[in-house]
Symmetry: C4
Subunit: 335 residues, 4 copies
């Protein structure tokens, strides 16, 4: 049974190698980015029950405001049109006060009566008489009530949703750091709403050709100079010092490009208004790395008032910064 014990240590070894974050090691197409810059995944999902797979409420929570209001107005118009047709069907003369002079004026009044019922404003200039019209109106007002409730849910959901609107610098740089070099990128809170207790993880994913000739995707968590802060009132430059044991050690930009290197950034924080945990993700592809450059300060004091002033527009501002060849001869500013 010594064989099986041997197996176990092999298992541990296998597991150690699989820091793949859940992406798997089989995605080896060099054109496939794992994480888009906005933090979404590059996977298409098909099959299953569409209505269970697609969550309409979730969609209405995360879509843009423009899309949200367009959908609401469209829905309002369509619903009023449908109910106007229903009032027509049960006999438009059952709506007391409707202008029956022409078919068009009758339908128009039915349409507006529908809008007055759906929003429960109910002026009463037009009012239903008899079983048919009254029933349609009773259904419509209940529907209006529920739609109202839904709209409230959606608005609250959209506003209270915990989002970390973190801006990342357009490029990551490899810059001098103490007397070695470091991989760096910078981020800032886009909103004036505070984020606290931030925690960041950076993983490097590369396509590596193995001894057996097969290409696999590897994943390495990078050591960070600092991975946690309590407060985030200004900017934060995340630094991975490229020491001897870094997977980046000794790699030129061409190596990074050849290996389809992608830096995956995972941020966890707490937003200070509701104390909810928020996540933010992004990635830097080898193409988005500048070698031999450093970030410029984001502070300014335009008024000379002595108050710390942070200029968000300077987030991606960089400057050439030659790397010392003594420790890193392989890094030549080649951007």
């Amino acid at each position: 049974m010594a064989i099986l014990r041997h197996k176990k240590s092999k298992l541990v070894e296998a597991e150690e190698k699989r820091k793949d974050l859940g992406f798997g090691t089989q995605i080896t197409d060099p054109d496939t980015r794992l994480l888009n810059r906005d933090g979404s995944f590059n996977v298409i999902r098909i099959g299953g029950n569409f209505w269970r797979r697609y969550n309409i409420f979730n969609e209405l929570i995360i879509c843009s405001w423009k899309r949200f209001f367009t959908l609401i107005v469209t829905f309002y118009l369509v619903l009023n049109f449908i109910f106007a047709c229903l009032y027509q069907a049960v006999g438009i003369e059952n709506l007391q006060g409707v202008d029956l002079s022409t078919t068009g004026s009758g339908f128009m009044d039915a349409f507006f009566f529908s809008s007055q019922t759906l929003t429960t404003v109910g002026y009463g200039r037009i009012a239903p008489i008899g079983f048919g019209a009254s029933t349609v109106a009773a259904i419509e007002s209940l529907l209006g009530l529920l739609i109202f409730a839904l709209a409230t849910s959606l608005l609250y959901g959209r506003f209270s949703r915990p989002v970390a609107r973190v801006l990342y610098s357009d490029k990551a740089v490899i810059a001098p750091y103490l007397d070695i070099t470091g991989f760096m990128f910078r981020m800032v809170n886009e909103q004036d709403r505070q984020l606290i207790d931030l925690q960041v993880e950076v993983a490097l994913s590369m396509l590596i050709k193995q001894n057996d000739g097969k290409t696999v995707r590897t994943y390495d968590l990078l050591n960070l100079e600092r991975s946690k802060v309590n407060f985030f009132p200004t900017n934060w430059t995340i630094v991975h010092p490229i020491t001897e044991d870094s997977p980046l050690f000794g790699m030129s930009k061409d190596d990074l490009l050849a290996n389809d290197a992608e830096f995956l950034i995972l941020l966890k924080a707490t937003e200070d208004t509701y104390n909810q945990t928020v996540n933010s993700r992004t990635s830097f592809h080898a193409r988005e790395i500048v070698i031999g450059a450093k970030f410029l300060p984001m502070f300014s004091d335009p008024t000379g008032s002595g108050v710390v002033t942070l200029d968000l527009n300077k987030l991606s501002a960089i400057q050439e910064a030659p790397l010392s060849s003594e420790y890193h001869p392989q890094y030549k500013p080649n951007n």
Copy 2:
């Protein structure tokens, strides 16, 4: 006092044996499944105060949409009927504008007036006059307002509720794994809404006859090749390697059936829209294990676009995969 110290180590031993997850060791009926496949428990609860035990709000949050809307419509009809009777009781002639030509037409108008009051649409074609009818209408409109508020609460509660809609493969398999075998099942996120930071636990529960002839239910947490992932954009195959120290080691399917083996699956994750923790549970009974089979890939590339495409319909697709007899002579594909 050496005796009591001895007791303490016995206590620890006793505790060690009780990884029962809270089910207890006395449920020894071989026909009783601990966890249903949908994650609910097999316990009936009686006694106590019914109205405190049964939480109507909770029920309205977790019930199906069909049931939810049926209850709402029924409630609306019943409430309008009750209030129509109340208006009748205080004298239907106090509703100005009601069609008093027949008793039926009067009651019908009272019914629709009630619906107009409850939804606060209040056209005014029919309106209350005098103390009695006005009082009933004032009560009904307050009630309508509160019911509206409740409906909003319920809708928001239903939509914002954190649920992990995780699909599990119909069967678990015992398949070749590296050069031994492994217990495996597969899962996928049913929704396009992302789940992150997943963590899974698998416990094996069996009925074991003890030396003293008594049968007790035992519980073992199974070692997993991997129990955590950061992301879950595709599928995840959970693997318990059947090493020498696994409680599954050396067991045939007949053994599993005889011991009434049940694999309890506990999943914790975070859903990405609201950053809430979600739970999912399921179980695989010995009857739902296929020995000597492996899962087929779920990826496909129908469009040839090079984009990773996951087909949810292939979740439970398996294929025969003979187990090597060298290490596991007891496993013969016998399903």
Copy 3:
């Protein structure tokens, strides 16, 4: 400076002794219970700004349903009365449709018009004319809208509030446990809504006369046979084994009473619908301990169906259970 280093170890010692949970050691009145059985604290707070100290929204969330509805109805009546007076003040003849035959009938119609405005039902049989009445009505309808919003908030707040409705046995017992004795109490989930991932802490607080003659309140966390479970579908008996190192070791009921012993119970759990953390607290005073008794099973099978059935009414059912004098001569069933 060796003196100061010595200080530090004294500090640690001092801290070790202060497992007081935040109650402090100065509450030494033997009649003062720290925690009431419903988990509330025995402290009166005065001073500060009353309106900041007293949170009316919080009060409306946690008060009983009876109190909640009484407050709402009272508020509705008072508000309508105030607005009826306002309409009277601006001239009741500015309400078109009001019955002006007597002062009483006019005020009554103003009252009901107010209710129709507040709930936004607005029939229009009575409607404001002119600047004064229209302004009051415009204010009232805005107020109605906001009150509506508030009612929705309150109802959602009441329903979605995470509460652990855990029932505790009326008495705790000291019962035989393995071959020693144990302090035990039992609890069950009052609701059919599941609780998961439970964690319990038990602290024993006693008034102890120190060597210097001063009486101080001591606090000890008790070791538990088991302090966590994953699931809670049935009942859970919490057991503190009274081993040699237990503060209960060698104490009779008279000792417990003399020391004003109080067992503080702190429970944390997750409710399964919204995945929120919930807390529950209670305490057992020495007067509520029964020595030499054990809990009876809560399971029953009235239908003989083989399904596990839990009877909540049996939660506090106990039976005499003599303690062995061999190990615990000091415990004689004396309740």
Copy 4:
């Protein structure tokens, strides 16, 4: 490569020195307070997209009630004025029932009709006729419905927002503690709503002139006699014992002032109604430290009932308390 290994230990050293909480070490203006007493940060942020940086919903959640209601009433008036103009534009004679005797009376009726539409009260004394007025009214009632939904969201958001209203003593003191001295401040829960599971961190930030003549801001986490409590029913005095290894050891008040010392207080707790985590922050500047004083008890028993009574008004009450010169010759009561 031994050089690079050496680098690594230097890195660790560098990190150790940077317990800066996220403020950075470059804020060296002695007049700049890091944290205001209300816990907000002293940073001005410019640039970026204003509408993305400024979160109007967040602002409406955290602003004062006075500001909130002023905004709502202003918004209501402005919106009604705009819609009155729109009705005027489409022809005021299309509002049936409007008083057309003068331009002013017509506009006034349009204004009030608008308010009746926006709040969906819709009496119907005035009602739209024809396409233009009906369309404006249909739009306004939809808007009213959405504003209603928004108001509900805002009110619920304001009320349910997890806030720790913790009051801190006006001054921190350096007082006798056991037989050394301690830095102390006191806090109390302003609300009757319970806070549980409190955890506190205290950091000392000072401007220190380095050997190279540059002034940098240093940060030190202070050891606390006690940093966690389960309950917070009364007051809590946080104590940092000034032992030999404390950065405060041997410092006079003048030293603290010269170093621009600021004590940053970070509190985390759980509020008991919704079980949400809440944060509270404050800071004590050197100017707000009293040397040689101690806090007076906050307990009182005005009714003599034996119930513990806490007087919030006594939170900042201090009394002179001379420090022993034996251990701390440098501390002379000099406030």
